[in-house]
């Protein structure tokens, strides 16, 4: 396309100055709005962490407690990611491809984690798995510890991240439709083959995007893991976010800011990565 060619334009009448200025004003306001909401806290975080130089940040992060907390966050998120990768895909598939009694209720329940406060999620799990909880006799008999241990934290994180995979894959599956799947079936493919060779490749960007959102949310979870885990430092239940909270309580601002910055960076990479996936998805 030549740059000299006249641009096709929708507006044929001359654009008034007033319109141009109101447009600029609107864009300016949006930029300021986003800058205040997102950029200002980010800048203050970077400033807070590096205020005393790079050395203290590295020292603050290179502590056994901090490394253990980040490790714990990563592997809890890893387990959650695997479970949702499998479970979320199956649920989305069933909800889109099948009609059954109670489907609407089930569909509504999936959005519940969006609405319920994570702290409440923690308490609900305590009511279920705590010492006085409903499942307490079973857990005691089997000698399984869920509350104040990692299984409870995995469950809490599973709960709060449940909708992301399903809500991301649902529309993608819907848009993909059933023709190609039916064609594969007609050609003699088994259900599994159809899914693996036809459906999955078609929805893969949605799949990755859902995983990224799930991971980002899992890394940042705070309230639910605090209540069900108890935030035991030097022990088994302190995650990265709980460490940040503790460091603030201990007035270790460099520690808190450094850990927050690292967690923020991981999330940022995830968000940018998922945005790239989004674009590839659109491009195809």
């Amino acid at each position: 396309m030549s740059t000299l060619a006249p641009k096709p334009t929708l507006v044929t009448r001359p654009v008034s100055w007033r319109r141009v200025w109101s447009r600029r004003l609107l864009i300016g306001l949006v930029v300021i709005y986003i800058a205040i909401l997102i950029l200002a806290p980010l800048v203050s975080l970077v400033w807070g962490a590096f205020r005393t130089g790079v050395g203290p940040v590295i020292t603050a992060l290179n502590q056994p407690d901090v490394l253990a907390a980040f490790g714990r966050t990563l592997w809890i998120s890893g387990i959650v990611l695997i479970i949702h990768a499998l479970g979320g895909t199956v649920v989305a598939w069933v909800l889109v491809r099948h009609r059954f009694w109670g489907q609407k209720i089930l569909n509504g329940l999936i959005d519940m984690p969006f609405a319920v406060s994570p702290v409440v999620v923690g308490y609900m799990l305590l009511l279920l798995f705590g010492r006085n909880g409903l499942l307490s006799p079973v857990l005691t008999a089997l000698d399984i510890r869920v509350a104040f241990a990692w299984p409870g934290m995995v469950l809490a994180t599973l709960f709060v991240t449940l909708p992301f995979m399903i809500r991301e894959l649902g529309p993608v599956l819907e848009a993909f439709g059933v023709q190609q799947e039916q064609a594969a079936a007609t050609l003699g493919a088994s259900g599994w083959q159809t899914f693996w060779y036809v459906t999955l490749p078609a929805i893969r960007w949605g799949f990755f995007y859902g995983l990224t959102l799930t991971l980002a949310r899992a890394l940042g979870e705070f309230g639910a893991v605090l209540v069900i885990g108890g935030g035991i430092q030097g022990g088994r239940t302190e995650t990265a976010t709980l460490y940040i909270y503790r460091a603030l309580d201990e007035r270790d601002t460099v520690g808190a800011y450094s850990a927050a910055l690292l967690l923020g960076l991981i999330s940022l990479i995830l968000v940018i990565g998922s945005d790239l996936w989004r674009r590839r998805e659109k491009a195809e």
Partner: protein
């Protein structure tokens, strides 16, 4: 290409899983002690724990690993009841230990320890901005219109319960200007006026003072030790001790059920005993806490001046009576806060 993406993903996930495997420490050479405490004495424990570890190693050759949790006293107490298997718990107030006792987890007479099992004491005091620009010197000032007050939430924080009882007791005893002594209606009106000025109710005392440090409010009602620790840490604000206040007594107990389950009774009891030694008491005193040990207290009176009117929980008939009377469903605090929140 498509396959490779999936394989890569699976690989990353497995890596994450692999990172979770951790080795178990050798049980004979080391023992793990879980300490569940309220939020304010953490700096003191940071100093005391290494001393105890050294002493225990000398006596038994064993290494003690500590796992610590610091949350609001009420939160901590309920967590222990719900299955947080702490070996030793150091809480803000007796009522929170009683809850664990009633759940059948503490079965020994923890009050038989020195000073009725109270490992440290403090008084309810105020933190005000440097130079005290709002002129806050006593309880009556907290009820002035336009004064922004911070105090944590009594539902989760022990310190908050002490705060409420301190202000109510001071009013009942005639130490609040404008409130006649022994006039419960006037004391209640005073409580309501202060609660109306409360801008933020945090989960725990430490969170509340950190919020104050971030610039919220004119005055924070809190433990004296909380302010002293902050001032030691270089914070720039002031401690105000009212004429009349309550003596905060912090209990400590071994949780029988859990130490027996973990086989940690010996080390847990040794740790509790260590906290009552003169050595540990002096460390508590350095971290802003008034020692229940009369000798240590006498040696630190310069830092901890006596109050004109210092009353104890006995003024309210003990915690067993005070908890329902003030924080129960029809308790005086419960009714007052619902009026403040409901009626503005």
């Amino acid at each position: 290409m498509r396959r490779r993406n999936l394989v890569l993903l699976l690989f990353i996930s497995l890596l994450g899983l692999a990172a979770c495997g951790g080795g178990n420490a050798n049980k004979e050479e080391s023992v793990t002690l879980i300490l569940a405490a309220y939020t304010t004495p953490r700096e003191a424990y940071r100093e005391i724990i290494p001393l105890f570890q050294a002493q225990w190693r000398e006596q038994t050759g064993q290494t003690v690993r500590f796992e610590e949790s610091y949350q609001g006293s009420g939160t901590q107490s309920r967590a222990i009841v719900e299955g947080f298997e702490a070996d030793v718990t150091a809480l803000s107030l007796e009522a929170d230990i009683i809850r664990i006792e009633e759940a059948g987890l503490i079965t020994h007479d923890w009050r038989s320890k020195p000073y009725n099992g109270m490992v440290s004491t403090s008084v309810v005091a105020f933190a005000v901005r440097a130079g005290n620009p709002k002129g806050i010197y006593d309880w009556a000032d907290l009820a002035r219109p336009g004064i922004e007050v911070l105090t944590p939430n009594p539902r989760t924080s022990g310190g908050a319960m002490w705060n409420i009882l301190a202000l109510y007791g001071a009013a009942q005893r005639g130490f609040v200007a404008g409130v006649p002594a022994n006039d419960d209606a006037a004391a209640q009106a005073f409580m309501q006026a202060v609660l109306k000025n409360v801008t933020v109710m945090d989960k725990a005392a430490r969170e509340s003072i950190i919020n104050f440090e971030q610039g919220v409010g004119d005055v924070a009602i809190t433990y004296e030790n909380e302010v002293l620790v902050a001032l030691q840490g270089g914070q720039n604000y002031e401690l105000i001790i009212p004429r009349s206040s309550i003596l905060i007594e912090n209990p400590l107990a071994v949780v029988d059920r859990y130490v027996d389950k973990h086989g940690t009774r010996d080390v847990a009891e040794a740790f509790v005993a260590f906290l009552f030694t003169r050595e540990a008491q002096e460390i508590f005193a350095r971290h802003g806490l008034r020692s229940p040990d009369p000798d240590v207290l006498a040696a630190t009176t310069a830092q901890y001046p006596p109050l004109e009117d210092l009353f104890t929980i006995a003024h309210f008939g003990g915690w067993a009576a005070a908890t329902p009377a003030y924080f129960g469903e029809q308790g005086i605090y419960t009714l007052t806060i619902s009026r403040v929140l409901g009626g503005g």
